[in-house]
């Protein structure tokens, strides 16, 4: 396989997952690009950190309170053998955003993530249907207060504005009719659960998780006219109408493009700023309709497309991508410990707190991830973890950099090896010059079959630290 093919597969693994260790990359290279895409699209056995072991040591994870819930998801992302399943759940979590700080119960947020795992690859209609019945979303957007005789438009508005069609593609009357259709879609014991949530009540026996309840007696069964169609619509009916719309197909296509291909402008600007690549959006939109609104089909087209393959290093890593990708590389957090909590807190300091998006709009992505403060956190995190030889993954990386070199390496070779094993990455000429200056400190970089010179290891540590601190490393 050529170096270009290796670059391409590593690009796929970064975008469709959280990167790959050298061994994982070798395995995927051996099966080829298209087969890798299919394997990612059809998650089989995730083999991630088992919950029983986590719960045994930390009952707080079992109860899923606060940051423990986010760390639980962190374990899944770091240890999974099905990275696209977790990456797609992260995608939906950002698009169909629900913030647990309003709910005061992160377990219901985790249940929503589980729903994304179960339904996230399937038909978009089903995703919207499950979302509409998801207790976390119901309470987040107050649909439990949406009654037949006292409507609350919040969910009716957001499902159109942020979750499907986007601003400018429906009227205020459509919002009202949509809200009417979702009356009666609530949670069991809504008054009690809402009161406990508002008061952040943990009594008497800790929080009680929520479940969906449909109250027919509270549903407005009257005739509605929604997006030009008329009937006694219930929630599932309006979802079917929404999913038939061109605007929905384009909106979801653009979200997929923004998350997996290249950074777009923030979503609030989408109704005035055209897509970066209209042809790509059209291709995805066509697939949406051709394959019955199937997300897996859309992703298959996306990952196999030229516009995806050309987009290497055009996105800025989100904090979660940076943190999880780094931890997967370093091999840390393979056993339950407090370290995963620290890792998700680091992503929080960088601007992305999973299960706690800042609003129903999710996160603003791309360049907005980078501030003077977040950049310092990002660089420090990556360089601290990736240069620590006590981390098994780092030791493995160093060994890969030096393997198969029975003869002394030149400084250029060791720099090239570092860049390849850490990615392969795309490094600018200026950065390479800096790396070469450091590598040239050693006239001869040697490894023999039985021991490594300490100077060589220190040099490689320094080079790794420089690479992961570089501007280029912020891109994926």
């Amino acid at each position: 396989m050529s170096y270009e093919d290796k670059l391409l597969i590593s690009h796929l693994l970064r975008r469709a997952g959280f990167g790959a260790t050298p061994e994982e990359l070798e395995r995927y290279i051996s099966i080829g690009y298209e087969n890798t895409v299919e394997e990612l699209l059809n998650p089989n056995s995730p083999e991630n950190m088992p919950n029983d072991v986590i719960f045994r040591l930390f009952p707080e994870y079992h109860a899923a309170i606060g940051v423990d819930a986010a760390a639980n998801w962190g374990y899944r992302m770091v240890t999974t053998r099905c990275p696209l399943e977790e990456k797609l759940a992260l995608f939906w979590h950002g698009v169909l955003a629900t913030a647990c700080n309003k709910l005061n119960y992160p377990l219901v947020g985790l249940n929503q993530i589980e729903m994304f795992r179960q339904f996230g690859f399937g038909k978009f209609d089903n995703i919207l249907l499950e979302l509409s019945k998801d207790p976390a979303m119901i309470v987040f957007l107050d649909n439990q207060t949406n009654h037949k005789d006292a409507m609350n438009e919040n969910y009716g508005r957001e499902i159109l504005e942020l979750f499907s069609m986007g601003v400018g593609n429906y009227s205020e009357d459509d919002i009202k009719e949509c809200a009417r259709a979702f009356t009666g879609w609530t949670i069991a014991n809504a008054d009690y659960m809402e009161l406990m949530s508002q008061k952040d009540s943990i009594w008497p026996y800790s929080r009680i998780s929520w479940h969906f309840e449909y109250r027919e007696e509270d549903h407005d069964d009257g005739v509605k006219t929604f997006l030009g169609e008329t009937g006694r619509f219930n929630g599932n009916d309006v979802i079917e109408i929404i999913c038939k719309q061109d605007a929905t197909a384009k909106f979801i296509s653009r979200h997929l493009y923004n998350f997996f291909v290249a950074d777009e402008v923030p979503v609030p600007q989408w109704n005035i700023t055209p897509p970066k690549d209209p042809e790509a959006i059209n291709k995805l939109t066509n697939t949406y309709f051709k394959d019955g609104h199937d997300i897996r089909s859309m992703l298959r087209v996306l990952f196999n497309s030229d516009f995806f393959k050309r987009s290497q290093f055009e996105k800025i890593k989100s904090p979660v991508e940076l943190v999880v990708g780094t931890i997967r590389s370093t091999g840390e957090c393979q056993t339950p410990s407090i370290d995963m909590i620290k890792a998700v807190e680091e992503a929080n300091y960088m601007g992305q707190s999973i299960l706690f998006p800042p609003s129903v709009e999710g996160w603003h992505t791309g360049e907005e991830w980078i501030t003077s403060g977040s950049l310092v956190n990002r660089v420090n995190f990556a360089s601290d973890h990736m240069s620590n030889l006590d981390n098994p993954g780092v030791e493995n990386i160093v060994n890969h950099i030096l393997e198969n070199n029975n003869s002394p390496m030149t400084p250029q070779q060791v720099v090239d090896n570092c860049i390849e094993v850490l990615g392969p990455l795309e490094i600018s000429a200026d950065t390479k010059v800096s790396l070469l200056e450091v590598a040239s400190k050693l006239d001869r970089i040697e490894s023999n079959g039985h021991s490594l010179q300490q100077k060589t290891i220190e040099l490689i540590q320094e080079l790794i630290r420089m690479i992961v601190s570089s501007k280029e490393y912020q891109f994926v």
Binding site: V53, N189, S209, H211
Partner: protein, 331 residues
């Protein structure tokens, strides 16, 4: 088994009545209940709480600074000896700490003291002659310890065969001093003589009768029934003495005295609760596991981690994620 009552209450403070992840209990000779209040890891709240059957709050001890004798990291199990000394295992600190019934520290037994490696001590039980039996999670074995604190016998290793273990958790004795071990990750209960000779094994992985999902604790009642905390299945399973299935318990919690007191001071929540039906009728497919049922239904078990019997053969089931203990009596 007939449900009797619930004791306990969730707490948001380290001290005072109420629990933050209770993990195990044991009974002093006067019937006083000692309960591990585990708290969150590294929170510094780990302590032992003391209370009575009638929910009279007595006090607590622990919450020491690191390296202090009253500091606990992952306290997991308790047992009293014939002299009313309380033994606490800590599977992070790899030690057994001993206290009296006033909560005064007496002694600490670690690997050096025992003359034996001690790696992840979990369940503990003490026979009538004050010999201790401690399971070690990471060594996958049972460690028998003399009354004066010397390791005298060890049996077991990692594996799935008879006499092998996978992260064992709780253990208990019957009236003949046979040892029953909750072989946690093998989803079974193994029975040995007090000298470590294998006798029999009960159970396999699953949700059916005679099947377990990560059993964490076991106790034998006066009739020889084998009572298992089927932790991963969020239930209690009771077997006959020959290991055949007898019955399940799924939990029937009611309001404890402390809970009633709390609601008396929070009428708005009480009134909303009165209008509610907290028993679930239907769940979506992705939320039907025992874990999800337990998290969504207040009265059933959620984290049933320990089963213990008092001097009247009443069964106490400690639930770490509901901060309470449900008590059953024999029919």
């Amino acid at each position: 088994m007939k449900y009797l009552k619930t004791i306990g209450l969730k707490s948001n403070q380290p001290a005072g009545r109420g629990f933050v992840f209770p993990y195990d209990i044991s009974f002093a000779s006067d019937g006083k209940i000692f309960a591990i209040n585990r708290g969150r890891f590294k929170q510094g709240w780990s302590s032992i709480h003391m209370l009575t059957f009638d929910e009279e709050w007595i006090g607590d001890f622990g919450r020491g600074k690191p390296n202090d004798n009253y500091h606990f990291e992952l306290p997991i199990a308790l047992a009293f000896d014939s002299k009313d000394l309380l033994y606490l295992t800590d599977e992070a600190l790899d030690e057994i700490k001993i206290f009296d019934t006033e909560g005064n520290f007496i002694e600490k037994w670690d690997a050096a003291r025992l003359g034996s490696d001690l790696d992840g001590p979990a369940g503990i039980t003490i026979d009538s002659e004050d010999f201790l039996y401690v399971v070690e999670r990471n060594n996958n074995r049972v460690n028998k310890i003399s009354p004066d604190g010397r390791s005298i016998l060890k049996w077991g290793e990692f594996g799935t065969s008879d006499g092998q273990f996978n992260m064992p958790w709780g253990l208990s004795l019957d009236s003949e001093n046979n040892v029953y071990v909750a072989d946690w990750r093998n989803d079974r209960i193994q029975k040995f003589t007090s000298d470590g000779e294998f006798i029999s094994v009960f159970g396999e992985s699953g949700y059916g009768q005679g099947q377990f999902n990560r059993p964490s604790s076991v106790v034998i009642d006066s009739k020889g029934n084998i009572i298992v905390a089927d932790w991963g299945n969020e239930r209690i399973q009771i077997l006959n003495a020959d290991g055949s299935f007898k019955m399940f318990l799924h939990g029937e919690a009611t309001l404890s005295k402390w809970a009633v007191d709390w609601f008396n001071a929070n009428k708005d929540e009480f009134d909303a609760r009165q209008e509610s039906d907290l028993r679930i009728k239907r769940l979506p497919q992705h939320l039907r596991t025992p874990y999800h049922v337990g998290s969504q239904t207040e009265h059933v078990f959620f984290g049933p981690v320990s089963v213990k019997l008092d001097s009247e053969d009443r069964l106490y089931i400690t639930e770490h994620s509901r901060s309470r203990i449900q008590i059953y009596e024999q029919n």
